[in-house]
């Protein structure tokens, strides 16, 4: 028993220096660092949305109507212009970052947790469990994600919960596949056999040895998955079955602005750019992370 503990300690020390290496490599990539900076900036904007675009006492910052001020083109006072109710689009984009990030994080947490469990079980236990679980994943994969999401969203009361399920279930296969693949590789390695030989339980082996070694690809997948979640949540809101007004979701703002696109292009321009920049940054970060975790690819 003593041996195992020592072993784990060694491993965690190794892990720390490994993480350090990853960070060192990550830091060197200008693209990855740009991505990280933008993401951090967006998170800060989301956290301080109420400070940047404060409430007027009765109405939240994103829903202050001024009907005398409708459809203003971008100007000094409203740098992104105003919408059909004279609301400041900048304020709505700022508050929208909170909604999008929140939805993104919940979706990723949800689908990553489920996906990791499914993938780990399938990868580790193999045989019947694997067959059943992976066929289920195949089922989900073969339904076009947008149709799956619309069907799920239609089945529920609209709102945060329906978006999380609709997008999360669609994203689940991505994590399950990545997880299964890395479990399969890890499983073959010697230290797992060693753990078996000293009588460690399967559950303990998964928790202590297999999972930690699969973290890298899952983290990369989660970063990309955040981008995926934000994009699909926006698509659902664009179709009018996502986040409900007056909450400023970027996709919903696009959908509202669509009617006025010809005369007031700014209404669709800025929320769209917000989505694109957010996803762009997450993808840059994800790319950098993948390269940093797997130095072989980056020469």
């Amino acid at each position: 028993m003593g041996d195992v503990t020592v072993n784990v300690n060694n491993e965690s020390k190794k892990k720390r220096s490994q993480l350090h290496d990853v960070w060192r490599r990550f830091r060197k990539s200008p693209i990855a660092m740009t991505g990280l900076c933008v993401v951090v900036f967006m998170v800060l904007v989301a956290l301080f949305a109420d400070v940047i675009a404060p409430s007027d006492g009765r109405n939240p910052g994103y829903d202050i109507h001024n009907l005398g001020n409708r459809f203003q083109a971008p100007n000094a006072e409203h740098i992104m212009g105003t919408d059909e109710f004279g609301r400041d689009i900048f304020a709505r984009v700022v508050h929208g970052s909170r909604v999008s990030l929140l939805v993104g994080f919940i979706v990723v947490t949800f689908s990553m947790t489920l996906g990791v469990i499914v993938g780990a079980i399938a990868g580790f236990f193999g045989k019947v469990a694997e067959n059943i679980l992976m066929r289920f994943i195949d089922v989900l994969l073969s339904i076009p994600p947008i149709l799956l999401a619309i069907s799920i969203a239609a089945a529920m009361r609209p709102g945060m919960m329906s978006i999380v399920l609709a997008v999360g279930i669609g994203a689940l296969p991505l994590y399950a596949r990545v997880m299964r693949a890395s479990v399969l590789t890890v499983k073959e390695q010697e230290f797992i056999e060693a753990a078996y030989s000293i009588g460690a339980s399967k559950f303990r082996i998964i928790r202590k040895h297999v999972l930690p070694n699969c973290i890298a690809p899952i983290i990369v997948q989660a970063t990309m998955g955040l981008a995926y979640a934000i994009l699909w949540a926006a698509a659902l809101s664009f179709l009018g079955i996502g986040i409900q007004p007056p909450t400023p979701e970027w996709g919903a703002m696009l959908s509202e602005g669509r009617m006025y696109i010809r005369d007031h292009w700014h209404m669709v321009m800025f929320p769209g750019m917000a989505i694109a920049i957010m996803i762009f940054a997450l993808n840059m970060m994800g790319d950098g992370l993948r390269d940093a975790f797997d130095p072989r690819l980056k020469k």
């Binding site: 289920f136 089922v139 089945a155 926006a234 696009l254 010809r262 292009w265 920049i277």
Partner: protein, 308 residues
């Protein structure tokens, strides 16, 4: 190889049954009574009840599902609640348009993605490479429904060059195909680049270089064919993605394909259409995957040898 294909085809059966089960369950638990929707808000309850009975909506879940599955096995997908026509006819009549849109966009994606990927790999670390990498990342980050709106705004409304709806004439193909093809082009470009880089590092390329072969000869005669193998997989996967992307795009560009029909069907709770449509799309998707895998196995001898 035949055995492999047969096995894969057989494996599709449980998956497709799973698809029918998932979609059937979803439509079953969905709020919204199709009979009431057909009858409207004023219709008295007895008439709606009569309609419900007629549509078979009063039977328990298991009975409904079993009836559906046995009908599907006989290639009977039921009739649309809304139009009263067979679901199969409805979907098949729209299928060519959607496939056409998907094919157009995959061609655009390949024509843009592959050459750019090759170029940026051969000029690694150049300004061009950097720019291409950046644009590639941007391509996968722009939501295609937003891009569609922007393209309509620019080319349809501002410049007036291209029609912004329909899908009958070649000029109508351009905007929708581009707006969904762009992100796939970016993904294909990234894949081509990294696969090309990988190949360029192989020993035989180094040998060729050492023997003094010209750069372009090395790239086109030796590197390209091997580098394109993984690209095929990505192209295959992207066909599935584009098929999904077509669903949103058809709605934005008023194209009478499956996607628009399906979104309408979900909105009006036309269960047989939703179930049949998803099933056929899933079948298409699985078949495309199979074809890609077969081609992949065929072009890569290392893999082919595994399937003998």
């Amino acid at each position: 190889m035949h055995k492999y294909i047969l096995r894969r085809l057989l494996m599709m059966v449980p998956v497709l049954i799973g698809v029918t089960f998932v979609i059937f369950t979803l439509t079953y638990i969905t709020e919204g009574d199709p009979a009431r929707m057909l009858a409207g808000i004023q219709a008295p309850e007895e008439q709606v009840e009569q309609l419900r009975e007629q549509l078979g909506l009063n039977d328990p879940f298991a009975v409904q599902y079993f009836r559906y599955i046995t009908n599907v096995a006989r290639l009977d997908f039921g009739t649309s609640f809304a139009t009263g026509r067979p679901v199969f006819d409805e979907i098949i009549s729209r299928f060519p348009t959607t496939m056409h849109l998907t094919a157009m966009s995959i061609i655009i994606a390949v024509l843009i993605g592959v050459p750019l990927g090759i170029l940026s790999a051969t000029k690694q670390y150049s300004v061009f490479d950097g720019a291409a990498t950046f644009v590639g990342l941007m391509g996968i980050s722009i939501p295609n429904f937003w891009l569609s709106l922007m393209l309509i705004l620019l080319f349809g409304v501002q410049l007036g060059w291209l029609p912004t709806s329909g899908f009958d004439t070649p000029s109508q193909w351009i905007l929708p195909s581009f707006s969904i093809g762009i992100s796939s082009a970016a993904i294909i470009m990234r894949m081509t680049r990294s696969s090309m880089l990988e190949v360029l590092r192989q020993d035989y390329i180094r040998t060729a270089k050492a023997k003094g072969q010209k750069g372009s000869v090395i790239i086109f005669r030796h590197a390209l064919k091997n580098a394109l193998i993984p690209v095929i997989t990505i192209v295959g996967l992207e066909i599935g993605v584009l098929l999904g992307g077509a669903i949103l795009t058809e709605n934005i560009f008023s194209i009478a394909g499956i996607g628009r029909f399906m979104v309408d069907a979900i909105a009006r709770r036309d269960y047989p259409v939703i179930q049949g449509g998803v099933l056929l799309l899933a079948l298409t998707f699985s078949l495309v995957n199979l074809i890609v895998d077969v081609i992949y196995a065929y072009v890569d001898p290392r893999i082919r040898s595994q399937y003998k």
